[in-house]
Structures are given as structure tokens and as C-alpha cells.
Amino acid sequence: MKRIRRISGAEEVGCVHGAPKPQMVPKPLAKPSDERVPSGIEGLDELIEGGFERNSVILVCGDAGSGKTTLSLQFLYNGAVQYGEPGIFVTFEETKKSMYKHALQYGWDLKKLEDKGLFALVEYKPQQIAEIIRGGGSTVKDAIDSIGAKRIGLDSLTSYSLLFKTPYEGREAVLALFNRLREWKCTSMVVSEIILQFGSRRGEAGVEFLSDAVLLLYYARQQDMKVRALEILKMRGTKHSDKICPFKFGDNGIIVFPKDSVFGRL
């Protein structure tokens, strides 16, 4: 009987009729290149051709508690530790002290990275960022240049867009922010809340159209339990997977399961 070769992220050893059964050998980490920036998040990079497009703006959307902040922080942490790409995390939501403390539950010592010049966490009020953007963004640019940052995390767009009185103004401001992020030549992950209601989605004044990529994190109720899943809604210049994949919070951060499925309705 002809055995079907398993398509897998792992290397197979022996998959011929009569030969030993396939053994799963862990695939080596993808490496950053001029075109691709790996996230280092287990299971995610194989869904996106090895990584995000360099210098792109990636919107990470989801309800409260869906894992958006953790994902973006993990992107920066892995960038610094695995790939030697320093990162800056701009937060409107949480204090530095709180963030560093919560990161330790995954073994991420952000203070240590900061001391090594591989990470910086900047606390801003949303109006400060608006002023910075209007003024050309030199403050943030200085922070980027000081550690040679290649990755930026921003949490969250929701807080930022609430500053503006009309959806039009909000959209214009977000567009200005995204353009500034692109000018800074960093791969940027921007967190945004989104309200999922019975399959419909309501985003932030259409910002998903302004970004280069959109990841949607589900934290959905199924009867009396909740299920976590990730969907790549859009990714320019990338043959990304259309599958909705389950993910979990492991001991060292988020793990995506690209070969598994979500059972039941989200």
C-alpha cells in the first residue's frame, strides 16, 4: 500500500513502503532575511511563508483576553533573543512594571534584555503619541535609533483612535501613524480591539485596510468553555494559510497548531 507522504513542518525520516515509519524531527527555526521577519512563535511562521514581510505593519485584532498583547510582546522578545533584532514596545495600556512582571510568567526577562540594549518599553499617553506623530515622530525615532530597533509593538490602536472626534479623523490619524511606522523601517505589530458578534466583525474605522497584514485572534465561547484560535485575515505579498488554527498559551508563550483544526463553531 502506497503511503501518502505527510506534509509537515518537520523533516521526515523514512517514508517509503516497507521502510521505518516517519519520525518527526523538529524543523530548525526560520532565519530573518531581507524579505522575511520570522516571529519565532511556534507554528505561526509556517503559515506565513516563514515570517512577516520586512517593515510591514501587522494589525493584531481580537477581543479582550484573546492574547493580542502577549503575541506582540512575544514577537519582540523572540526577535531580540532568537534573531538579534532589538525591539521597542510602545504601550498606552499597561505600566512598564506590570508588563515586565507578567512577561516573567513565560520566562521572558524583559529587564535583562533592556539592560543588554535589545529591548525598550516606552509608556505613552495616546495624546503624546498623536503629538509625536504630528511633530514628525522624532522622540520615538530617537528611541528606535538608540538600540537599533528592527521591530516595534504598539498597544493599542483602540486607545489611540479614541482621541479623535470623528471616524474620519481617526482614520486619518491611524494612516499617519502607519506611514510613520513604515518610514522608521521597522516591522511593526499593532494591537487593536475588535468586537466579534455572531460571525460579524466591527473594526476600527476600517484600519484593517490600511495595514499590510491582519491577524485575528479568537477567544470564542463554545457552550460552557472557550476556545482560542488564530486566523490570518490578510497578508500582502504572502501566500498565507487561510486556515483557522487553534493556539494555546504554553510555558514559554503562545503556541500555534497549524496542523490541527478547531472543532465546533467559533
Binding site: M1, R3, I4, R6, P20, K21, P22, Q23, M24, Q222, Q223, D224, M225, V227, A229, P246, K248, F257, K259, D260, S261, V262, F263, G264
Partner: protein
Amino acid sequence: MAQKSEKEIEQRIEDLPTEFIALIISSADIYSIAQETALKVLIGKKGMNGAYVTFNRPYSTLKATIKGMGLDLSKLFFIDLITESAGGSAERCATDNCFYVSSPKNLTELSILMEQAMLRLPAEKRFVFIDSISTMLIYNDPDTVLRFIHALTGKMRLLGITGIIFLLEKESDEKFKAQVAQFCDKVITI
């Protein structure tokens, strides 16, 4: 009657080739005998290693039962979907070979853990034992269960793993049985 059934079950399972997925439809009165006999053949006679997915009996109970049968417990890896949902506490220690799923409704988590369990088994002579689809149906709708079984049997075939899937005879309709049967190589009705 029980003795005759045990012999019949033993023979029918022994006759199955390896890398074969069998759906065993059993009546309630000989269900336990059928399961124990199947395990005796797979582990005791064929020397296989397996992943035991239990919706019915907690790991703590199964450990004792299997030891009592004189079988080598180290040949089994368990996935327990009953302990935590029934309010019990999971026995988590480095030497224990059991994963716990929070709820029998959480087939997503089960699928993830099954993949991990299957990869933990040795390269040759391995099986997956599901007890049972009937209980799975109590907590999940038939379409979801069918999708799950279809995905699972697909993975088992790719990895060359034998499958033994249990279903209670009178607990599901004929259409459902037929749909599950199409994912399997053989149906054994006891």
C-alpha cells in the same frame, strides 16, 4: 455467553492486520469485556504500544484495571477527558503518562493532545483506542464528532497507526454509524 463473546472478540481483533482502523460496535452488556479483550490482544498478544482516549473512566481507575489485567501499563499513553470535568484533580507528575483535557466538549484540545500522544509512541506497532464515540456524542453534536473522527483517522493513516474505535450499539442512529464506518476499514459488531 460472555466467554463465547470474549473468544469471538479476541479472534476478530487478532485477525485484523496492522495499520487498520476498526469500528467496534458493541452492546452495552458486553462493552467492558470487549474493551478489555481488545487491550489484551493489542498489548498482550501483539506487543503494541497505544494511546488510550477515555471519555468514560478516569485515568486513576484505568491504571488499576489495566494492572489488574496483567498488562504492561508502560505500553499505554492516556488522554483523560473525564477527570477534570467531573471535578477530580489531575495526577500530574513527570513519570505519569497521561494528558488531561478540561472537558469532553473540547475536541480542539483533544485533537492537539492526540497529535502529541501519537508522536510519543514508538515508531512501530502502535494503536489508538477510543472509548467511546457514544460518550463523545453526549457532549458534542454529530457533525462535529464526524469531523473530528475524519480528521483523526486521516492523521492515523498518515502515521501508520492502528485504530480501535468503540461505539455503543443502540446509542446512535444508522446514518451516523454509516458515516463513521466510511472512515474505517472494518466494522466489527459484537
